[in-house]
Amino acid sequence: MKLHLYQFNYSFPFQSDPEWSSKVDRWYQLDAEAYGLTELVWRIEEKPDLIFLASQEASNSSDRLFIESEMTSAVKFAHTLPNVRCSPFLQAKQWTMPVLCTQFGPKTFSSAVENAFGFLGSPYRRILILNVCRSLPSNESGTSRYSAYALQIDDASQGGGEEISIADLGHNVFNGSDQKFIENVSKVLCKKEAFTLIEAPSL
């Protein structure tokens, strides 16, 4: 098994048109989470066979925006389903594939990763697990800071890179919260040069 973790840190609202804007229907209406995931997946070259979309807070922030609109905004309501965040990056990449949007409270991401480990092999040789969360609340200018993560899992036959076992990730790696899980996994993968950090400038 081979692993690679991508982390994309960004601010929202964004200040310029994204590179993929011509490919995504109404890109300017995207919420922070959909925007970040699209920016991140846009940078990943290899097409996976299966995607897990697994963010602990699901669509809570978009739900709040819809409620703040006194529940009258169709545009905001359309983003209140946690799975719809996959549509913009699939449009950008022109991919069609199975996507499972899973939830599991504070272990949403780690639980999806654990599932993905169990399914690796035929027919899924490459699985992508995605997560996005707000890392810093709004500043004075109303801008928040977010982090989007993509853990790519390949079976041993795919591409280059060092093989990694679950044991390499540490004992009880799946026992803690998603935050702890991401910290542990990024440390291990950083040492193995299987971690890519992308920093969009802070505004």
Binding site: Q56, N83, L90, Q103, T108
Partner: protein, 349 residues
């Protein structure tokens, strides 16, 4: 996957038998606000209400087959879970709104399964849960999977669909010339699955796919739905189709394109005129409807559909139910975010 037990709770009442009776007799039980509601009351919260509904369904299934924690997986599918609790209280939820219902269900039933998950693939959530169940079973992670599905219709969902202009002014009439949108419905349901054991019926194949086209509607030519329908059907002949049939202009048109080009003579029906669009539970409700079609060797009609849209070319059943030999039923589902899903259910081999 063999179907060992199943049940549902809807506006028709508790149990699949009352649901089938309503489907075959053309009955509807629409509340004054034009929502197909589960009649219950006295709960402090949505979480409590939904847990109670799932326990009723669970108790009914357990009468049909044993359910023990060892080797068991449970998947709860829903679009919005107990989101209404956060709307009414104004509390800031730190986590998703589906997992708390699963936790509450486990606490009430004292179950401690080997595997757990919640799936939220919009209105194709149930199919997503069946897809995950099959992966768990095929990779021998569990022996049985209980797929549960639930959604309720509170102000958040109702006003959301009103904002989209997607609701019918009367009630849903799938594939009708005068269709004017969907009717929302509440439902809870469950199906117990295994690769082993004795069973009359099985889910032969299930497939989900997400297309990068639009957040709110399927591609006009239905290429993704067509692709997964081809995958689940393979070389088999379909006896009948239970369409997603929301009665919205786009969805029905896409389904007609897919069905008319592949199955011009296969009878097609839909169940949302009877229990409404039950969102994340709709795929499971349609699967239970398909079990009724297989059991009675009869396809129910879309009782509220008087005249089929003249642009549609597939073979739709309206008026009365139709006796026929049924070996396999195709059940399709579509959801926001580009979700497309299909499964084939047939007699167990």
């Amino acid at each position: 996957m063999k179907i060992l037990g199943y049940s549902c709770l809807s506006s028709c009442g508790l149990g699949h038998e009352v649901f089938w009776k309503s489907l075959f007799e053309g009955k509807v039980n629409l509340a004054p606000d034009r929502v197909f509601r589960i009649e219950d009351s006295g709960f402090q919260s949505s979480k409590e209400r939904m847990t109670s509904q799932l326990i009723q369904v669970f108790s009914h299934i357990r009468q049909q087959a044993p359910i023990e924690s060892q080797g068991l997986g449970i998947i709860l599918s829903s679009t919005k879970g107990c989101t209404e609790d956060f709307v009414s209280s104004g509390a800031k939820n730190e986590s998703d709104s589906i997992y708390p219902i699963l936790e509450s269900f486990l606490e009430s039933t004292q179950l401690s399964p080997s595997k757990l998950a919640c799936v939220s693939n919009a209105c194709a959530s149930s199919h997503g849960a069946f897809f995950l169940a099959e992966l768990w079973l095929r990779t021998s992670q569990v022996k049985k999977v209980l797929v549960l599905a639930i959604d309720e219709v509170g102000p958040f969902i109702l006003k959301g669909f009103q904002s989209l202009g997607a609701l019918s002014k009367t009630s849903a009439r799938p594939f009708a010339k005068n269709r004017d949108g969907l009717s929302l419905g509440e439902a809870a349901g469950g199906i117990l699955l295994s690769l082993e054991g004795s069973s009359d019926f099985e889910i032969e194949s299930v497939c989900i796919e997400t297309e990068g086209f639009s957040i709110t509607r399927p591609s006009n030519d239905g290429r993704s739905l067509g692709s997964i329908v081809d995958k689940v059907v393979g070389n088999n002949e379909m006896s009948a189709i239970i369409a997603h049939g929301t009665a919205t202009p786009f969805n029905d048109r896409t389904e007609d394109k897919v069905f008319s080009s592949r199955f011009p003579n296969v009878p097609i029906t839909a169940a949302k005129w009877c229990v409404g669009h039950t969102l994340g539970a709709s795929g499971l409700m349609d699967t239970i409807a398909a079990l009724g079609v297989l059991k009675f060797q009869r396809i129910f009609a879309m009782a509220r559909t008087e005249e089929i849209d003249p642009d549609f070319k597939a073979f739709y059943i309206r008026g009365g139910s139709l006796a026929m030999e049924v070996d396999r039923v195709l059940v399709t589902s579509l959801g926001f975010g580009g979700m497309q899903a299909a499964l084939v259910i047939g007699r167990a081999k």
